[in-house]
């Protein structure tokens, strides 16, 4: 699609995880990194735009992923940039089926003047998250830039895992059920309320957590029956479902009454007019599972501490491939592909 003028400069929307970012990746990054002829078989590369890349080694897949974290503010209710940087990468590996982390790296860029105490707090938080995920940071890098040359702290983490079964985000079939592993919209709402000084008295807490153990429980409960996974970070459940639906070539129907939403998140969303479906999550997964195995997977999730609120929220159909339809109980609407995350620097 054309635009009024070609974007000559990078704008905030290019980092929002939505349409503009996707086009930037397709036009600039894929142009640079994908080869012609395509990569040899046995490699899932950037063009797939999945949660990670993967390389077949023997009868298993090596999964690789990387994330940079620029969240503002660095400390927020329920977590901080350190915890987020570990969980983001651990969860991306898990989304591809690699729930045992072989190793993590951590590259930190600090602004001159950054408080040493804050750095230690962030590192301690990263250590806690690693312990929860049974993961270890085994390599790293540290840089310092002058005052004003970078904003506070930027953290990049990358991770490596192995899996016998690679799970993609494009494998949904008609009839599959969609499960969300817990409440929706927690992270984005918590950060938004803190950042915008909404002066709300509400119990909003980020859900940032490593979910590799949770996902392993689901995979073990129904080997081979989990057809797709994606974690709904930037762009929320709406964005992730859209991607899964279009890549898989199926339509997705969602029952709004089944969506688990905390009262405080629902309250803020009513008040401010932001849909929890469009808001980032950092400790949740969307799991596509065959109809026959759905109840089994749900049960396995619910006994896990991080999966107590798991719910089957929808199903896949042959109709309207690529579209996501929400049944509101009173009517029905199409869930739009989000422009991207409504807030900059959400993760």
């Amino acid at each position: 699609m054309s635009s009024l003028t070609a974007d000559e400069h990078i704008l905030l929307k290019h980092g929002a995880g939505g349409r503009a970012m996707r086009r930037l990746i397709q036009d600039a990054f894929l142009h640079a990194f994908e080869t012609d002829p395509p990569l040899r078989p046995g490699i899932v590369g950037v063009a797939a735009m999945d949660d990670g890349g993967a390389v077949r080694i023997g009868d298993r897949w090596l999964v690789l992923t990387t994330d940079s974290h620029v969240i503002q503010p660095p400390f927020f209710p329920g977590g901080d940039i350190g915890r987020l940087s570990i969980c983001g990468t651990v969860n991306d590996l898990a989304m591809m089926g690699a729930t045992e982390v072989l190793g993590l790296t951590c590259g930190i860029v600090l602004e001159e003047g950054f408080a040493r105490a804050d750095l230690e707090r962030i590192l301690a938080s990263m250590r806690t998250a690693c312990d929860e995920a049974s993961a270890h940071v085994i390599a790293g890098d540290t840089k310092v830039m002058g005052r004003g040359e970078v904003d506070g702290v930027v953290i990049n983490t990358s991770g490596v895992g192995l899996t016998a079964h690679l799970v993609r985000d494009c494998g949904l079939h008609a009839g599959d059920r969609i499960i969300v592993t817990g409440t929706v919209g927690d992270h984005g709402m918590a950060v938004m309320a803190r950042r915008h000084g909404l002066e709300l008295d509400a119990d909003l807490v980020s859900d940032v957590a490593p979910i590799n153990g949770l996902v392993a429980a689901a995979l073990d409960a129904a080997p081979g029956e989990i057809t797709a996974m994606k974690d709904p970070t930037r762009g929320g459940v709406a964005g992730a479902l859209h991607e899964m639906a279009s890549k898989s070539g199926v339509g997705v129907l969602v029952d709004e009454a089944m969506l688990p939403v905390r009262d405080s998140v629902r309250g803020v969303s009513e008040l401010v007019g932001i849909d929890p479906l469009h808001v980032a999550n950092e400790g949740k997964a969307l799991i596509g599972v065959s109809e026959a195995a759905a109840a089994r997977v749900l049960a396995a999730l619910r006994v896990h501490p991080l999966g107590r609120d798991a719910a089957i929220i929808g199903m896949c159909t042959d109709d309207r491939p690529g579209m996501v339809i929400l049944d509101t109980g009173i009517g029905r609407r199409l869930v739009a592909e989000p422009e991207g995350e409504l807030l900059p620097r959400i993760c």
């Binding site: 635009s3 401010v272 009173i330």
Partner: protein, 373 residues
């Protein structure tokens, strides 16, 4: 409390009643609402899947973002370029002016703050020595809040660039459009909370069309539509108040008094609708110190290096908002005008008709769909 107004069982029976009364008329019926919040509620609950096929509920020029005209946005951008901090409500930031939006101005170094309340903008001004201008958009329901803060006293570095609008005059304009098929109006419940419902009686007498004042919960909208379609069926040109818990005949006198003490209505352009007599609200002369237009010499000319581009001239948002054209009639729709790069404001706002069409592929017909999970 509000959950009772979202009860699916009652909604289903109201929808059935609406289908019956529409059938009694036996042909296509078009009614119009003039409120962005009504469109948001209709979209949020997917109500069009519950409306009968023969009933067209058209979104009229009720989206305050959509009808804010180019020169007004240019004024805000020019001020930003002149070093003033601009505070405004969310959706306004992406609306295109003659040469870019406030978001573009921000990317070029302008300081733009999004606020959820005008009181927040005032509070911002107390925390800085910078000049802060509140770019005030929205209809009368929102204008009363701007009036209230001005009357309560504001810091010396705070002023208002008023782009507020007044809705009742535009209903007249739509009714007088030659191609209009609109047979009745849903009036915005929140605006009517301020103005009362009696102000619509002159309109119904003059134009022989019914007006039903409606709230914003699904049951409110469905019940109001049942009444409205009945009035159309019976050719009764009266005003019916279906939002009695919030709307009275005379409205909120306290708020009205404050509104007209601070603002006066003047004729002006609404984007795409040309001139609306008494449709714009400007600060009265005695408020000159807090009127950004009098406080600053706003240099818009520097933005207008060239005449408005051809693309902007091809924009038919005005006709779309008046309900006499659809987005698919527009040469720019989906090509040169998309949410990422909006030409007309109808594509910018989440309430805008073109944006809804673009996102949902038209007004989607989801009547047969159900989720059996």
């Amino acid at each position: 409390m509000p959950l009772e107004f979202r009860d699916p069982a009652r909604a289903k029976s109201l929808a059935a009643a609406l289908a019956r009364v529409t059938d009694e008329i036996g042909r296509e019926v078009s009614v119009m609402h003039v409120c962005g919040s009504h469109e948001q509620a209709i979209a949020k609950f997917g109500l069009r899947a519950a409306f009968p096929e023969k009933l067209n509920v058209i979104m009229g020029p009720g989206c305050p973002v959509c009808i804010t005209d180019l020169p007004e946005i240019d004024e805000a951008i020019a001020l930003a370029k002149q070093g003033v901090r601009i505070a405004t409500y969310g959706d306004m930031v992406r609306v295109p002016g003659t040469a870019g939006s406030l978001a573009d101005a921000q990317a070029n170094g302008g300081r733009i703050d999004t606020v959820y309340s005008v009181a927040q903008a005032v509070e911002l001004a107390t925390r800085t020595t910078d000049e802060v201008v509140f770019f005030a958009t929205g209809f009368e329901t929102t204008a009363v809040a701007t009036a209230a803060v001005i009357l309560a006293g504001v810091p010396p570095n705070f002023s208002v660039l008023s782009a507020h609008k007044y809705i009742p005059p535009v209903m007249e304009i739509v009714s007088e459009m030659p191609d209009t098929r609109v047979e009745g109006f849903l009036a915005a419940g929140h605006a009517a909370t301020i103005t009362g419902w009696k102000i619509f009686e002159a309109f119904t007498a003059r134009h022989r069309q019914p007006v039903v004042v409606a709230g914003f919960e699904p049951l409110d909208i469905l019940a109001a539509l049942v009444r409205l379609v009945e009035l159309v069926r019976d050719r009764e040109a009266t005003v019916v108040n279906m939002f009695p818990r919030c709307v009275t005949p005379g409205g909120n006198q306290n708020a009205q008094e404050k509104l007209w003490r601070v603002f006066r209505p003047i004729g002006g352009r609404w984007r795409g609708i040309a001139h609306v007599p008494n449709g714009n609200l400007r600060l009265r002369d005695e408020w000159a110190p807090v009127d950004a237009r009098k406080r600053f010499a706003i240099d818009v000319a520097s933005l207008w290096h060239h005449a408005p581009s051809t693309l902007v001239r091809q924009c038919i948002c005005g006709n779309i908002m008046a309900g006499i054209a659809s987005p698919s009639d527009c040469a720019l729709f989906g090509g040169a005008c998309v949410p990422d790069a909006p030409v007309g404001a109808c594509m910018v706002s989440s309430e805008g008709t073109c944006r809804i069409w673009h996102e949902y592929g038209g007004i989607p017909n989801l009547r047969g769909v159900s989720c059996p999970v």
